[in-house]
């Protein structure tokens, strides 16, 4: 039975952060040369010397940090999207963000532009632009006066996504094989290009998105009653939908820009978190963020080390584990009649 004692909040946040820290230390030790946790911690605290410190701090840490940021963005955005769409099957990419990002990425590759801003590659910038463009298009087309009907958002999202997919598939056909590989790798989602520039470029977006969404936690709870009832409780429904969908889209776009399309994290993590900590968004949103980070750091460690000769795109790992787990959850919740 869930309790509403305030201590519960601190407990789950504390335990989740501890788990993230533990998994991160293990992930920092994972790679071509295994480093035991003690050595990793020493290196992090600046005490280590020689190659270990360099491996941990310069090679692996940016990648772990980026994985954590991306996972966190996907987890929080997913929880918020599920809340605002009142549907536990919604995910952060739901309104056409991933096909939009993919289209941006393919356009960048096809045009051969190689500008980079703040250390971000042309692919990242174009993917970010594509994702935001798709989200804006969907929100504009789904708008009816001052209303944003949820069903319209979903349907327009599907249509815009399908259109973007068609365009980037067509473009990809015109690319040389070497370039197709880059696009393909990006579409599967990977953290292999991680560096501090990407971490620093992503951090501000995540901070803003997390702050905005957390400030809407209470409204998201009330939203579960339905839009009309939320309105009866004094919530300005359309404004709130705009803010939440906008912020969650921004978070997903920032994630997809630096990591490609990593599926299932934003779908499963909030779902699982809701089963464990309950539906209250004041706890659900941060827990989803932290668990998303933990999951992606762990999945990336597997992606880096599962095969001796090469890396697996992390999106494949999340989908491989995520899809069956999702089906299990679905069966389980159906049985409980939820």
């Amino acid at each position: 039975m869930r309790s509403s004692r305030p201590g519960i909040w601190a407990f789950w946040i504390g335990a989740s952060l501890a788990a993230l820290a533990g998994v991160s230390v293990l992930a920092l030790g994972t790679g071509p040369s295994w480093l035991p946790p003690g050595e990793v911690v020493r290196a992090l605290l600046g005490g280590g010397e020689g190659p270990s410190a360099a491996i941990v701090n310069d090679i692996r840490l940016p990648r772990i940090a980026l994985g954590a940021l991306v996972g966190c963005a996907l987890g929080i955005s997913g929880a918020a999207m599920q809340g605002v769409f009142r549907n536990p099957m919604a995910d952060p990419y739901i309104i056409g963000i991933s096909p939009g990002a993919a289209l941006g990425a393919v356009v960048a590759v096809a045009s051969g532009v190689s500008v980079s801003v703040l250390g971000l590659s042309a692919i990242s910038l174009a993917a970010f632009a594509g994702a935001l463009l798709a989200a804006l298009t969907v929100m504009t087309l789904a708008r009816r006066g001052s209303l944003f009907p949820v069903a319209d958002l979903l349907l327009v999202g599907i249509a815009v996504g399908a259109f973007a997919s068609a365009v980037y598939s067509l473009l990809a056909l015109t690319l040389a094989d070497s370039r197709i590989a880059a696009v393909f790798y990006w579409l599967l989602g990977s953290l292999s290009a991680a560096d501090w520039d990407r971490v620093l470029a992503t951090l501000p977006y995540l901070a803003v998105v997390a702050a905005v969404l957390l400030s809407m936690a209470r409204q998201l709870d009330v939203f579960a009653l339905g839009e009309e009832e939320a309105g009866y409780l004094g919530i300005r429904v359309e404004r709130m939908k705009l803010i939440v969908v906008g912020a969650a889209s921004l978070g997903a776009a920032a994630a997809v820009a630096v990591s490609g399309v990593i599926g299932f994290v934003g779908l499963i993590v909030p779902h699982l978190a809701r089963l464990v900590v309950g539906p209250r968004h004041a706890l659900l949103l941060p827990v989803s963020g932290i668990w998303g980070a933990t999951l992606l750091v762990a999945a990336d460690a597997v992606a880096r080390s599962a095969l001796a000769y090469s890396e697996i795109p992390v999106g494949i790992i999340t989908a491989l584990c995520g899809a069956p787990f999702f089906l299990y959850l679905l069966k389980r919740t159906r049985k409980r009649g939820l």
Binding site: S3, R218, D221, F223, G234, P279, R280
Partner: protein, 432 residues
Amino acid sequence: MGSRLAIEVRGVRIAYGTADVLHGVTLEVPAGGFLAVVGPNGSGKSTLLRAVARALKPRAGAVLLDGRDVGSWDSREFAREVAVVPQHGEPAFDYTARELVAMGRTPYERRFTPDAGGREAVEGAMRRVGVWELRDRPASTLSGGERQLVRLARALAQQPEVLLLDEPTNHLDIRHQVTFMEVLKGLNRGGVTVLMVVHDLNLAARYADRVIVMREGEISAAGPPSAALNPAVVRAVFGAEVEVSVSPRTGALNVQTVGVPDPGAGGEPRVHLVCGGGSGAALMRRLYEEGIPFSAGVVNAGDTDHALARALGAPVVEGAPYSPVSDEAHAANVAAAERAELVAVCDMPVGPGNLRNLQAALEALDAGVPVVLLRDGPHHGEKRDYTGGAATELARRLKSGGARVVESADGVVRLLAPDRGAGREPAARRTS
């Protein structure tokens, strides 16, 4: 709770698409009033409520709360004055009862300041409605009635001056319905203005102080319950026959639908009932259900059995009110009894005025018509003898002459149609 707020609806027209659903509705709920809005499905009553709750914008006209157009109220300020209990809607996620009630505090919560008194308001609301014990239960484990009470508690946690309810007692069992309505009435006595859309005319009649009857987007009657819900209005608006009466026990207005029965199954009466004072009602109803034609006599005009036999289309040997059975009526009664296949003597009080009805039964028995004595009432024939023993003597003679005692209306039906009886009661037994 400070000043009391009144609702005014002025010439409101609302359109879904191009067709108007409300055609200029005007009404007023004074502060502290209790208005029930009734009407058939599609009459626009829920639309009216949603307009007052500002979920719908009128195409023309205005809804005023405390003299100000509801559209001009700040949404949070409005939610502190007006709470809505909607008809249905399950939360998308499985919050506990207390979490759901606490959502009623939303209009009082500010981002960085705690809602002083919020916890007390939530607990008080839950206790008042009687769901405090359910506070930690997830909504998915609550019954429909409990969930509706939780919804009412949430509205109370808003500490509103005005409550709007949309068919709040649909799907509630009787116990939850009574709890719900008593809480609502108590709030109204405390000064909360209530506007309730409701299907059940009885609830409207019993609890509201004004009733509005809507039809096709217009108000077709308004006033105190006994005036607005008169049978003519109900027939015109709902197309149903009703009987409106005042309960002799509670003084409440009762609106009872009167199914318009097909008068009689037709054909010669197969059973003749000797009854009166309501003693024949159960058997008449049962015979009517089975399509077995019957007659009754002698029943005085004004007797409930008289009215019921007439309503069910059965021939009645009629007597004058408050008079003993006349020779003429007695003769007709005997004739009717002898034409039947069976005479059923119901469990009625017998006095000097109707003693001859037992004699009629005896004459029929002597003429070869089987007689049954129905003993389904709380009293048995002998104990309701107001004739100083004459009735008891007649009953004894009936039994010794071969009349059977039957324990229920169903037993009588079984004698006439052996395959039709429903109860498990032993069939009629011969006594001597």
